[in-house]
């Protein structure tokens, strides 16, 4: 696929449509040799105007060229290659579409996001995926195949010493290798289920009562409309098109983004702390109640690894104030966006207050990471409302 000569939106999407069709044909013949179309869903927390958005990309070292009001193409400055298109699909959420290989593009997007505070990934927690899975059950044909990947690593509950892997800033996508590498002794789950939606709907609730990591969906497939295959969404906002249509893929990307946008808006509306009067602070606390109290050792490792290590999976920074052997207060900063969170942590729960202006994405990142690395079955409330209600897909009607 060649983007150099693409000058219009129509030409760009026609190329992506044709490319997607050919890749699906190869997949169906079990001879996939060329990369699939991938989308990387991002957040622009400050809703930067066009100039700031373009500047953010350029500051990361790349060239970006406008095609129309909301569509651009990006050239990697190092390789001089056009690596994809970026569309400001809905306000505050640019999406990068690329046909490059995943092992190149995943790292490319990771470095882009890390290079600027103007961009962040989407953070789709197990709770959020749960609601999207329910939507699939309600709206897709029950005989269609769904695909779920569950992923959880209890990095803080381990018999091994506090090891380097805890400090990793990785996003939890690493496939575990049992070759010659050191494999820490801790609970680790990476489990894929592919079955008809009606079977998943019937069996999953019972399976969850037996094994908590099955609460942590890290990848979810939406069956495609009008063809076999589907669209695989990852917890970090990546989506892979495994259908024959780019238009269908884009429609699903937009749907997930709109759901995410609604969730953030509602989270911010309810959870932002602000003063109504000098004596009256409003805004709901975010409470993450662990399904079982953390072991003291786990609690201490979590605090040490998260707030006393420069690189940590939660992306937080702060100086914990110890109020007892099992209570800590932290005036924390989200290290990517440099926004504040005030957190109280005990072995039973975390209580988080977010000041007005802190992006709601910080909460979704926290919930995603707690489910992935600390407690897969954590219960989350914003005020007295379950977090899952905030992820409720709003249907609405045509404006």
């Amino acid at each position: 696929m060649e983007l150099a000569n693409v000058k219009t939106r129509e030409a760009a999407f026609e190329q992506l449509e044709g490319y997607s069709f050919e890749r699906k044909a190869e997949l169906d013949q079990n001879r996939s040799r060329t990369p699939l179309v991938k989308s990387y869903l991002l957040e622009d927390p400050e809703c930067a105007d066009d100039q700031e958005f373009l500047q953010a990309i350029r500051q990361a070292g790349h060239e970006i060229y406008r095609i129309d009001d909301t569509l651009f193409k990006i050239k990697d400055r190092a390789t001089k290659r056009y690596v994809g298109l970026v569309e400001r699909l809905i306000p505050r959420h640019p999406v990068i579409y690329s046909h490059e290989e995943a092992r190149f593009m995943d790292g490319w997007v990771h470095r882009l996001v890390n290079a600027t505070t103007h961009l962040d990934r989407l953070w789709i927690s197990g709770h959020a995926f749960e609601r999207l899975l329910e939507w699939n059950f309600e709206n897709k044909q029950p005989r269609r195949f769904g695909r779920l990947v569950f992923q959880h690593t209890s990095v803080f509950e381990t018999d091994s010493p506090l090891d380097q892997s805890i400090e990793s800033d990785g996003e939890g996508e690493a496939v575990l290798s049992d070759a010659d590498e050191y494999v820490p002794e801790r609970r680790t789950t990476r489990f894929t289920m592919v079955d008809r939606l009606e079977v998943l709907q019937a069996k999953l609730p019972k399976m969850r009562t037996l094994y908590a990591p099955l609460h942590v969906i890290a990848q979810l497939r939406f069956p495609a409309n009008g063809s076999t295959g589907g669209h695989d969404f990852y917890f970090n906002g990546k989506a892979t098109n495994r259908s024959s249509s780019f238009a269908d893929h884009r429609a699903h990307v937009k749907f997930v983004l709109e759901t995410y946008r609604n969730t953030i808006a509602k989270t911010e509306a309810d959870a932002w702390q602000h003063e109504e009067t000098a004596f009256n602070l409003t805004g709901a606390a975010v409470r993450l109640r662990f399904s079982e109290p953390l072991l003291q050792d786990t609690f201490e490792k979590f605090i040490t690894a998260t707030f006393q290590r420069r690189q940590n999976r939660f992306g937080l920074w702060g100086d914990p104030i110890v109020l007892g052997h099992s209570k800590v207060h932290v005036y924390a900063l989200d290290r990517h966006l440099w926004q504040q969170l005030f957190i109280e942590i005990t072995p039973q729960q975390m209580i988080v207050l977010i000041p007005r202006g802190t992006c709601g994405n910080s909460i979704h990142r926290l919930v995603t990471n707690v489910q992935q690395y600390l407690d897969p079955a954590v219960n989350v409330w914003i005020g007295d409302r379950p977090y899952s209600e905030y992820v409720n897909v709003q249907h609405g009607v045509t404006p």
């Binding site: 939106r9 999407f13 129309d68 009001d69 909301t70 569509l71 939507w135 309600e138 709206n139 409309n225 009008g226 238009a247 269908d248 884009r250 429609a251 699903h252 937009k254 749907f255 709109e258 897909v393 709003q394 249907h395 609405g396 009607v397 045509t398 404006p399």
Partner: protein
């Protein structure tokens, strides 16, 4: 083929529209759509209803096609789009394929059509839906479409302008009856067209 059969033939119907879009087609059909500023944007464009809208329809118990491919999608001046669907006969109320398709077409207001075509926001300013069929004086051919429109509006869904062009055989001529057009589409109304003599 008799003239009455001809005006029901899908190929003839689509060609009639295309001739109306062509400044000099070599036929005696007047290029009324060309003069109104329309060009062909897509033929049998696949329009996928936005997922959120499709969900809302299911929740409301309204059956609509999630993918629909109208025969022609025309583009006019100032971001105006005309969706054209040709039918041998029109339909009544119900949930058959024609009705499900019709509901999806009625829902193609500017923001929805723009989404379906993957256009940038604001790229579609106006939409109209036009059915083309053979004239039948035995019943109100627009009644079924009007009922579907009313059903959608009652459930608080926005719908687009819609109208009906009828191909009527008069002697050896085919005439387009535009009495079923709403005011928004009246500029293509009232034109007589002639096809080459058939039969006899």
């Amino acid at each position: 083929m008799t003239p009455e059969q001809l005006v029901r033939d899908p190929l003839y119907q689509i060609n009639a529209i295309l001739w109306m879009l062509t400044p000099s087609s070599g036929t005696s059909i007047e290029p009324v759509l060309y003069r109104a500023g329309y060009t062909v944007h897509q033929i049998e464009a696949e329009l996928r209803l936005p997922l959120r809208l499709a969900s809302a329809l299911r929740d409301a118990g309204i059956a609509a096609s999630s993918n629909v491919s109208p025969d022609l999608l025309l583009k006019g001046h100032e971001k105006e789009y005309l969706i054209v669907e040709c039918k041998a006969t029109m339909f009544g109320d119900g949930d058959d394929r024609s009705q499900r398709q019709a509901r999806s077409l009625l829902l193609q207001v500017p923001i929805v059509l723009g989404d379906c075509l993957s256009l940038q926001p604001g790229a579609v300013a106006k939409t109209h839906l036009l059915y083309l069929t053979a004239h039948d004086s035995n019943h109100d051919q627009l009644a079924g479409l009007a009922k579907l429109d009313g059903q959608l509006k009652k459930a608080k869904f926005s719908t687009t302008n819609h109208g009906l062009l009828k191909l009527r055989v008069t002697g050896s001529r085919v005439v387009i009856d535009s009495s079923g057009l709403p005011p928004a589409l009246q500029r293509v109304a009232g034109w007589r067209t002639r096809s080459p003599r058939v039969g006899g």
